[in-house]
């Protein structure tokens, strides 16, 4: 397996996540699509580490930081989402117009 194979899988995973983030109406679906995009980036980091820098771990360490930030993001995102759902009573993003003048 060459580096290009792993990059292609990561690119496809990123595109699927991008499509989901652009088209889902449900806000939890958008959060899930964002998680897919994070994973595509992590896969790229680990693949570059393995193929271009054998024996090095800088990419894996950066991927670990990404995982940590993604975990923090999803925790705060879900808490915000529950708070918004209490106020708005819906999970569909086109109904979130609290800031509309």
């Amino acid at each position: 397996m060459t580096l290009a194979h792993y990059l292609a899988v990561a690119a496809l995973l990123f595109l699927v996540g991008l499509f989901g983030a652009l088209t889902r109406r449900n806000i939890i679906g958008i959060l899930m699509s964002i998680e897919l995009m994070f994973n595509a980036a992590n896969l790229n980091l680990a693949a570059f580490d393995r193929f271009l820098h054998p024996g090095g771990v800088a990419g894996q360490t950066l991927a670990l930081f990404t995982i940590t930030v993604a975990a923090a993001e999803v925790v705060v995102g879900l808490a915000l989402l529950l708070a918004i759902y209490r106020g708005a009573g819906t999970v569909y993003v086109e109904d979130y117009n609290l800031l509309k003048g």
């Binding site: 397996m1 060459t2 290009a4 194979h5 990059l7 292609a8 899988v9 690119a11 496809l12 995973l13 595109l15 699927v16 991008l18 499509f19 989901g20 652009l22 088209t23 889902r24 109406r25 449900n26 939890i28 679906g29 959060l31 899930m32 998680e35 897919l36 994973n39 992590n42 896969l43 680990a46 580490d49 193929f51 271009l52 054998p54 024996g55 771990v57 800088a58 894996q60 360490t61 991927a63 670990l64 930081f65 995982i67 940590t68 930030v69 993604a70 975990a71 923090a72 999803v74 925790v75 705060v76 879900l78 808490a79 529950l82 708070a83 759902y85 209490r86 106020g87 999970v91 086109e94």
Partner: protein, 166 residues
């Protein structure tokens, strides 16, 4: 040969379950497929020889984030959601954006065509630990601060919303 079988089966698992995540109408099914897709990415990490990343992916994503999202889906969903369209009207435009972005990404990926790994993968946990407490000490401490801020933020948002609404 074995590496190719592992790679293609894991890649198929990851991509098909990711497609199921973004296209299925039932959000509970979507979140279950999200767990499957994340587990497949963990398998790809293992095939890349990133052992610590594999363990971290299983612990944080599959057993943490996927379960958390499943809880949120069960708290927020309604039965009537199953009959509603889950995709907005602009999906052809989004598909166009994805095709254009994909053309660029595959051009970059084709640039790295033919690069193979020369040595077998070696365990990297010890080196990661040394790097985190050596050169990466400042980001390591900052990310713990970010986790603390996320914890307090989650508690704050859930609590204040509950008290203000009668």
């Amino acid at each position: 040969m074995l590496e190719a079988i592992v790679f293609w089966s894991l890649a198929g698992l990851v991509l098909l379950s990711a497609l199921a995540v973004v296209t299925l109408r039932n959000t509970v099914h979507s979140s279950l497929f999200l767990g499957l897709s994340l587990a497949g990415v963990a398998g790809l990490f293992a095939s890349l020889g990133a052992d610590f990343l594999f363990a971290a992916q299983i612990m944080v994503y599959v057993s943490g984030i996927a379960v958390l999202i499943l809880f949120a889906v069960m708290l927020l969903g309604r039965a009537s959601d199953l009959h509603l369209r889950q995709v907005n009207d602009l999906w052809p435009t989004a598909l166009l954006v994805c095709v254009v972005a994909g053309a660029g990404l595959f051009k970059v990926a084709a640039f790295f065509e033919g690069i193979v790994a020369l040595e077998p993968p070696a365990p990297g946990t010890r080196a990661i630990g040394r790097l985190m407490l050596g050169d990466c000490l400042l980001p390591f401490e900052l990310v713990s601060l970010a986790l603390l801020a996320a914890l307090i933020g989650a508690v704050f948002f859930c609590r204040s919303g509950g008290e203000e609404n009668p």
